[in-house]
Amino acid sequence: MCGIVGLFAKTDDVQVRLGAHLTSMLLEMNDRGPDSAGVAFYREPAPAGGSKLTLHHPDLGYEWAALAADAAAQFGGEPSAHRRENHAVVVVAAPADEAEAWVGRSHPEVRLMSAGGVIEIYKEVGLPRVFAERFGVAELDGSHALGHTRMATESRVTTDGSHPFSTGLDLCLVHNGSLSNHNRVRKDLRREGIVFRTENDSEVAAGYLMWRMREGATLDQALEGCLEDLDGFYTFAVGTADGFAVLRDPIACKPAVLAETDEWVAMASEYRAIATLPGAEGARIWEPEPATVYSWQREGVAA
């Protein structure tokens, strides 16, 4: 099954309470995906010229301060690490791609969840309800966020196999559905240098988007490419630095509901997740058409 939720704030009030709203939505999707859960939040931009990494280490006692000190020694700036359960956000005084390469080289014991200027990804196995509480998702603010609850079908239940998947700097993907040609596509993408950590089909979709955009496609073009190159059932939601996009496959078996008010834009697998939001009763509500890319961006921010 799996559940997807997404929320894009149009007002300061919704931004401040983004985590609380997204948590209510995620909890409604608890039963659709009891195996694991995850969220991507877009918040607290790194200082100009810098970036932030979300990192994971299974040991709750891992010395994040030491890793942050290493980063400061390498790139300058003040060491900055904020732990949230077994994840931590480390702010680095270097562009995200350099910071990402550095952490991969010097700290292979940690897993990179996300890299960019604004994105933070948290994900873990277990009931979404428990995940939300453990990670204090309700405390988070932000401009927009995506969430996912997973009912595993294609591969093992692990932290790495949980959603969202990072698909590049400040980009992430959540998926409801199953892809049938993921083994072939993964093989092709590996030849292009895309690295995969799991046998998960959704990670292949994330890798596909990463590859297309690396080759110069816009997000919309990369998503339209999915319609040609990915075989199977999917509703995708993609988070970007400025907003999010939604795509359903041409058959559109997997559910998706979109709703918009003057305060927010929301996306969910089922309406009941949207019904938790303030003003949902008066929202414009519709189901996205098959094979059509829908996207929202913050006003005044270039696409």
């Binding site: 559109a252 559910p255 009941r272």
Partner: protein, 236 residues
Amino acid sequence: MSATAGTVERVDLAATALRDLNQRLHDQAKAAEPIGHWQILNPSGAHALACGLDAPIEVEIMGHAGYYCAGMNKRATVTVHGNAGVGLAENIMSGVVRVTGNTSQAAAATGRGGLVIVEGDASARCGISLKGADIVVRGSVGHMSAFMAQTGRMVVLGDAGDALGDSIYEARIYVRGAVKSLGADCIEKELRGEHRDEVAELLAAAGVEGVDPGEFRRYGSARKLYTFHVDNAGSY
């Protein structure tokens, strides 16, 4: 109706298990004096609400329903005061199912009898494999609606999405708005007097007033596909 008409049995799903509610509703089928009027509070999008009813009772769902609401309905009148999820009134046998908001895909799928009314929009595959039920949608229907519909009638006051009536058998479709595209073997047909009467009858049954049946266009099967003919092999 029952001797208890006039009183309303209210069940709060915030305090009652869904299975207990459905069991109580099922029990009305063999009750000597069924409770005639029910209101379900706090449905919160629960799935399989009021499924498999078989009694002449009225059930009002005071909020949003999840998947497969009022599936297999017989004789009962079920009203959702809100939106409904996938598979509303799937395989409805008789009675009436009404949704005041929108409904998700496959509304009234395989329905055999009775009437399904959607006051907002229905999404994809509305009336898929329809087998005799009637559907009235005040808004629009999504793609692949009335796919392989065998018999029954569908009236759409708004627009229809892609591939309307694909591989249709003998169901009759009436659309007032624009049809994005017709599916295989579905064609527009002349709207004659008996069809205007039929639309008028269905609109009246759905409580729709002030709409001229002459504004609708009729669609149905070209009958070239469902009886196999070797010349059509490429169309399957």
